[in-house]
Amino acid sequence: MDTSGSRDLESLYQQFRLRAEAVSTEVYRLGSRAKAESFAREMMRQEGGTAVWAGSAEPALLVTKERAAAAKVGVTEADLAIADTGSLLMDASLAERRLASTLPEVHIALTPFSGLRETLGEALAGIDPRRARYLAAVTGPSRTADIERVLTIGVHGPVRLIVAFYEEKAA
């Protein structure tokens, strides 16, 4: 999506970071895919408890409803990042992606740096919703202000959202 009008990745990243951090998302830029994965493992170690990793074949990270519901950490891919609103866009058609990103207390999203887009419109432009049947735009952790308008982070979804950018394609 390298249209001449679109801004370079670096400035999109700066914008993304500003907007994402404003809604309590934690943003890391980790270089390689391998570094992003070991970062995720380090976070899992720090948090302790169970972890689930969508797409992983490791039995200890397997996504089931029960394991995801009990997990401290859930790791998933995110496909695109939207600078304008500090959002992630993920194709969550696979059930394990949905479970690993909605139920655990901490959601770590491994996100390709090249997936940065300026707007939601640009991000959706190349996507056929009939193929990606469950698209999820995620902007910060779960939040509510339903009691006395006091902002509280972490209701039904994650209490922390961590975006780990990496600079090479996923294997």
Partner: protein, 690 residues
């Protein structure tokens, strides 16, 4: 008015928890919303939404068919009906066929509209609302008081008490702790639920997609964990193209909660796989319930452009005082009044439509570009059409339109009131104006109306002439404003004329739903000015100006706008003298004439420093006869306005509307060292250069 309704208003106004929470929220809302819209052209954005939603409203049936075709091609089951009972039965049948016991719901106004929960529970189902606010309301056995924040009327102590009963443990009123309790309690329900029910914020015909926006993440769990998902969608949520969702997703979070985007936006297109590889059962119910009838109505079609952001509630100076429960139904506030009239019955809106003071604030904020005040006025007209005006109303408007009788009565009043007049203000007005005096001092009817004083004014002969339209208040209560207008015009080399046949502008009749009487009044004025050979017709009452502009658009001009033009042309010279003033923006001056800068500029030219009051453009509560019909609400609005005026410390208040002047001066009159309240015309006349 029904005493029960009146009582509900009084109860709401005296509920300090409610009014405190709503006031704090509505004050913060305007500020945070403005920040969320930074860098965005709101007018262009809402024009796009109105265009897309308006186009969809013109083809609801075609879009519903297209949606059905596309969603079914992907494996969803689509059920279309206009009947709320059929929706309830369909869902209960699905639940029974599956042997379901437990249902979790994410927020859906459409399901509230048809009272779905009660039906499912009566059918033996456990039903849990999972949006925190909705769950609180469900536990309390109440109705939501706000479309986006259902439990805004409740305190954390009340929530703690509800939750304590639910978990059988004494909980402190600690909000993070209460939220955690809700997470744990509802998590268990999510995991064992057989069916998830959601609404939808948008439905896309060309792809069969549903779009759901939440902040808590409950809609994601509702649509992920149970193996069956049922979406209840009002057909006004349909748009044609996939891209049509973009402007709505730009506006909805910004207008609803001042966010750039809600935490979660889910776009669901057909059934997805469950974890075990089976396909999710997806039922989508496209519910009409009078929406196509609404679409066929040339006036009310516009209401289908609503995206349910609730900004019309958030900026409403009346809603912030009374909250949502006085509306008595599921939908609340400005748009709620309109939806109730359609989804329930026109008659149901008779009382709640009278809450609208016609200040026009919601019109400026509506991302669907809906003229909500105008639609409420149309409800008022149709109710009056069905039921007819009350005999007293008929008598009043007959009198008002019979200029000689009306003016004769006003003259008689100036004599009759004598025993009650005190320092230019009276507390008891004769005839139909009585009842206005309960909450504030009212102006005495002038001993000599402006029309009589006008004849005695010595004016220079000038080539250019302007006709003065006085309106009832300037003519009979504040002739000094009329005299000030003449002075300013003369100073600019313009001679004023006063067509004697002029009468009431028709606004009071219009805002009471007396369409014919309003038309007759307007027509009389058109005739009165038809032969005046003048360049301008000048009015210093913005409500009158708006009415008059409809009849005589070419010549009618607001006084301060004309003064500004004359000043810029070098025809008006002011003798600046130091002073400090705070300026109140009158509703019609601000939102109909868009002319609140010219008076400010002129006041500055006259030497005044302007100290802006908080919420200078929020209605003062006058609203013509509104202050008579809704004295409790009007008095509270006035009290807020006075508080903001006092907080500026300015010794003087200026405004461009004699109605606001009546209200605000009346409110301040009771105080000793009150700020001096004057019309801009008077302030300029005082500072004309010799």
């Amino acid at each position: 008015m029904n005493t029960e309704f009146r009582q509900s208003i009084e109860d709401a106004i005296s509920n300090a928890n409610l009014t405190g929470a709503l006031a704090r929220f509505s004050e913060a809302y305007r500020v945070s919303r403005a920040r969320a819209y930074e860098g965005i052209d709101f007018e262009a954005l809402r024009a796009k939404i109105a265009d897309r939603k308006g186009a969809a409203a013109g083809h609801l049936n075609e879009l519903a068919e297209e949606f059905q075709r596309n969603a079914e091609a992907l494996g969803a089951k689509v059920f279309r009906t206009s009947d709320p009972a059929a929706v309830r039965d369909y869902i209960l049948n699905v639940a029974r066929e599956q042997g379901a016991r437990c249902i979790v719901k994410s927020k859906s106004m459409a399901s509230e509209e048809i009272h779905l929960n009660a039906h499912l529970q009566a059918g033996g189902m456990e039903v849990f609302e999972t949006d925190l606010g909705e769950w609180i309301i469900q536990l309390a056995g109440q109705r939501p008081s706000h479309m986006v924040m259902p439990a805004i009327h409740m305190t954390k102590e009340q929530v703690a008490e509800l939750f304590s009963k639910e978990v059988e443990e004494r909980l402190a009123a600690d909000i993070p702790r209460l939220v955690k309790v809700a997470r744990e309690e509802l998590r268990e329900k999510f995991l064992r639920a057989d069916i998830g029910i959601s609404g939808a914020n948008i439905a896309v015909a060309e792809t069969g997609s549903l779009v759901l926006c939440t902040n808590e993440g409950n809609a994601r769990l509702v649509t992920t964990l149970p193996k069956t998902h049922i979406a209840v969608v009002g057909i006004e949520k349909l748009v044609e193209k996939f891209d049509d969702m973009l402007p709505i997703l730009q506006a909805l979070p910004r207008s609803a909660t001042a966010q750039l985007l809600t935490s979660y936006v889910s776009i669901i297109t057909g059934p997805v796989e469950n974890l075990d590889g089976s396909e999710k059962e997806l039922h989508i119910i496209l519910m009409d319930n009078r929406r196509t009838e609404m679409a066929a109505d040339p006036v009310f079609k516009e209401a289908l452009q609503c995206i349910r952001c609730a900004s019309c509630l958030n900026v409403c100076p009346v809603y912030r005082l009374v909250g949502g429960h006085v509306f008595g139904k599921v939908y609340t506030g400005g748009i709620g009044t309109i939806l109730t009239a359609w989804f329930d019955h026109l008659k149901q809106s008779e009382e709640i439509q009278s809450l609208c003071i016609q200040c026009g604030a919601c019109r400026d904020y509506c991302p669907g570009q809906i003229d909500i005040p105008e639609l409420i006025l149309e409800l008022r007209n149709r109710i009056k059409n069905e039921e007819g005006l009350k005999p007293a109303e008929k008598a009043i408007f007959a009198i008002v339109n019979h200029r000689k009788v009306f003016h004769g009565l006003l003259r008689a009043a100036s004599i009759a009131q004598k025993p009650f007049a005190d320092d230019g203000m009276i507390r008891h007005l004769p005839l139909f104006l009585s009842g206005m005096t309960e909450t504030k001092a009212l102006p005495a009817i002038a001993a000599e109306p402006f029309r009589d004083r006008f004849a005695k004014i010595q004016q220079p002969k000038c080539v250019e002439k302007a006709a003065i339209y006085a309106g009832c208040l300037i003519d009979f209560a504040y002739p000094e404003i009329g005299e000030a207008m003449v002075k300013v015009l003369n100073a600019a080399g313009i001679e004023a004329v006063f067509p004697e046949e002029q009468s009431c502008c028709g606004a009071p009749a219009k805002y009471s739903g007396a369409v014919e009487a309003a038309k007759a009044g307007a027509e009389a004025n058109r005739r009165a000015f038809a032969h005046a050979d003048v360049k301008w017709i000048v009015s210093a009452c913005p409500t009158c100006t708006v009415s008059l502009q409809q009849e005589l658009p070419r010549q009618t001009v607001d006084f301060s706008v004309l003064a500004r033009e004359l000043f810029e042309a070098g025809r008006l010279k002011l003798k600046a003298a130091p002073g400090t003033v705070t300026y109140h923006d009158s509703c019609h001056q601000k939102r109909a004439l868009h002319a609140t800068e010219p008076p400010r500029e002129m006041l500055r030219e006259a030497g005044y420093e302007i100290v802006e009051m908080f919420e200078s453009d929020v209605c003062c509560g006058m609203g013509g006869s509104y202050s008579v019909k809704m004295p409790e609400v009007s008095a509270q609005m006035l009290e807020r306005k006075l508080t903001h005026i006092r907080a500026t410390g300015a010794p003087d208040v200026a405004m461009d509307c004699p109605g606001c002047l009546l209200q605000i001066r009346g409110g301040l009159e009771t105080e000793g060292a009150a700020p001096r309240v004057k019309h801009t015309a008077e302030r300029l006349a005082e500072r004309l250069a010799e």
